[in-house]
């Protein structure tokens, strides 16, 4: 009967709810580096740049690949290159700092711990991003990890990679172009009116979906969900109720303004071509 207290394997979970947001540029960059990797390398390793917000969310904005050599038990990283690229990037954007590192390939391997160690010397709590380019599970998986120390009593024996929630974030401009970024080849960048058409079609599809859902509920084909119902009624009620006369006037005023602008710009263009004819056609006697 040992009265010795069992030593508890303790690990300290991260105190702040750490989560990461990734900009698509980073994913594109990583994939591109993977495609261009030298033949003998199996995976690509690189640095992640970004910023850490006060509430602990890490925002990953940029990345660059770092050449490395990897064998079964050794990893060699080109540190000079890493520092050079860092200074170059910081000349453009001094606010971007190292927030972690990435590697392609599924999961975390042995060599990763060493690299993670190196990066934790550069920044306090580096985030490790794995991008599975091999589609091991038949799907694309991008995971982010932080390292948590496992300690036995007073001694530290291992570091555990703990997954943190990851969020793929897109700024509006990128969202606009997202459609063309999905396919392998787009013949031309869509101009304003075509984009308009696409947006309106999407809106129409959404409205159709909602309509079908409401129909289904009314005919008792689908169990009604009160929250959705309330949401729909809120949305419909949010259309401002203006008397038809006032609304017509509003729309017509707007239309007239726009027509005036159209007229002015056409007038300007006519003036331009006229002026040009006069300028170059003048004969010097």
């Amino acid at each position: 009967m040992a009265s010795r207290e069992p030593t508890v394997l303790q690990f300290f979970p991260s105190s702040t709810s750490l989560s990461a947001k990734v900009h698509p540029v980073v994913i594109f960059n990583i994939c591109d580096c993977y495609v261009r990797r030298p033949d003998q390398a199996e995976r690509v390793i690189g640095t992640l740049l970004g910023s850490i917000s006060p509430d602990g969310t890490v925002e990953i904005r940029n990345s660059y690949a770092v050449p490395h050599n990897e064998s079964s038990d050794q990893v060699a990283l080109d540190i000079d290159y890493h520092h050079n690229m860092l200074t170059s990037h910081q000349k453009v954007n001094p606010k971007e700092v190292i927030v972690g590192w990435y590697s392609t390939g599924f999961g975390v391997s042995g060599g990763s711990a060493l690299i993670h160690d190196f990066y934790s010397r550069e920044v306090a709590n580096p985030v490790h991003l794995t991008v599975d380019t091999g589609f091991r599970n038949g799907e694309a998986s991008i995971k982010a990890f932080v390292s948590v120390n496992l300690s036995l009593g007073d001694r530290q024996i291992a570091a555990q990679f703990q997954e943190i929630p990851l969020d793929l974030r897109m700024i509006e401009a990128e969202r606009v172009g997202f459609d063309i970024l999905k396919t392998t080849m787009v013949d031309k960048v869509p101009n304003d009116l075509e984009g308009m058409e696409a947006s309106m079609e999407r809106l129409l599809a959404l409205i159709d979906d909602v309509y079908k859902y409401v129909d289904n509920v009314v005919e008792r084909r689908v169990a009604p969900d009160n929250k959705i119902g309330r949401f729909i009624s809120d949305t419909v009620n949010s259309i401002p109720k203006i008397s038809p006369a006032a609304f017509d006037k509003l729309v017509n005023d707007s239309l007239q303004d726009h027509l005036l602008l159209l007229y002015l710009s056409s007038l300007t263009r006519t003036q331009l071509s006229l002026a040009e004819k006069l300028n170059t056609a003048a004969q010097i006697l």
Partner: protein, 338 residues
């Protein structure tokens, strides 16, 4: 027996390659995203960067790009800028990125990018690279929900004219060059590697549907954008009218000088007649030292062309936005009726 049709290796190497005209610029999604990110982060300041890629036949492929740091107005930073560029190119080459410069990109504000500096940069690049292109991105228009990305290049005829630095009216009439012929816009194609498109398609399925719809396009308020556009338009019209006044001044001077020349010539002829009658030598009918024979310099038309280009650009933008607004207004009207 040598085939008379086959050319010797020397002949082929010696014959100059005829450059096929540039028909399309193919950009990778990665480069587009990087450009968007860089321009948007620093807007409203104007930023530039370098494009890297390959030149294949009639297609110019842009595979990567890197941004330039904002240049201070300091002499010693000039060398720094060149160092930065070399450093980046070297580092990128180590990770197998195409090391070939094919042009540069710059951000603009509401499309006011036709300046003399643009032309000069073009000429600088053209000396070193056979084919280069400039990509213009307008971050202010993406708030309207439009991807305002354009690839521009100077036309060859304009470049020849610029090299000779000769912009008189006659030369222009000779070459039949007008202000539309300065810049040439090249269609853009977007390409992505299969890996990336697989990733993006997968990821799109995970994000909720509401994020997919780019509702910014359906926003009704366009007044701030239009206001600024029209403001710029008015400024440009002022500039254009100043240029036109310069021309009028020049023509007035020219005609006045010609009248003076005629008068002088008449006097000379009368004098000569008198001298002939008196049996003396006749004086020459020309006198190059007389100041009224000094040719009046013709002002360069380059500025007025550039301003005209800008105005045309603004007008086109206004037209585009107006078209979109019409759509939105009618949509709203239909919604209200229901």
């Amino acid at each position: 027996m040598a085939n008379p049709m086959a050319r010797s290796f020397l002949q082929v190497a010696a014959s100059e390659e005829v450059a096929s005209p540039l028909r399309v610029v193919q950009i990778e999604g990665l480069a587009i995203l990087k450009i968007i990110k860089h321009c948007k982060e620093f807007s409203p300041a104007l930023v530039t960067g370098q494009l890297l890629g390959l030149d294949v036949g009639s297609v110019l492929e842009v595979t990567n790009c890197f941004p330039f740091p904002i240049r201070e107005e300091d002499e010693e930073i000039e060398a720094d800028g060149a160092n930065y560029q070399l450093e980046m190119m070297r580092c990128l080459r180590e990770v197998n990125v195409d090391n070939n410069t094919v042009g540069w990109y710059q951000s603009t504000l509401l499309g006011s990018f036709q300046t003399v500096e643009l032309i000069e940069t073009f000429m600088n690049y053209q000396e070193n690279i056979r084919r280069c292109v400039c990509i213009i991105y307008d971050p202010s228009r993406s708030n309207q929900g439009v991807l305002a990305l354009k690839a521009m290049k100077l036309t060859d005829s304009f470049m020849d004219l610029y090299r000779n630095n000769n912009f008189t009216g006659e030369k222009l009439r000779e070459k039949n060059l007008s202000w539309v012929d300065i810049f040439e816009e090249i269609p853009i194609k977007v390409s992505n590697s299969a890996l990336i498109s697989a990733f993006m398609t997968e990821l799109e399925a995970e994000t909720p549907v509401s994020q997919q719809c780019d509702y910014d396009r359906l926003q009704l308020s366009t007044s701030p954008f239009m206001e600024r556009n029209v403001e710029f338009l008015i400024e440009c019209m002022d500039d254009l009218s100043m240029e036109q006044q310069k021309f009028q001044f020049y023509y007035r001077n020219l005609s006045r000088q010609q009248a003076q020349q005629q008068a002088w010539l008449q006097k000379r002829r009368a004098e000569n007649m008198a001298r002939k009658a008196a049996g003396e030598e006749t004086l020459p009918e020309e006198d190059p030292s007389n100041p009224i024979f000094k040719p009046v310099p013709e002002p360069s038309r380059l500025d007025s062309f550039l301003i005209t280009n800008q105005i045309a650009n603004y007008c086109n933008q206004i037209n585009g936005v107006v078209g979109q607004s019409f759509n939105r207004l009618y949509l709203m009207k239909a919604l209200q009726e229901n």
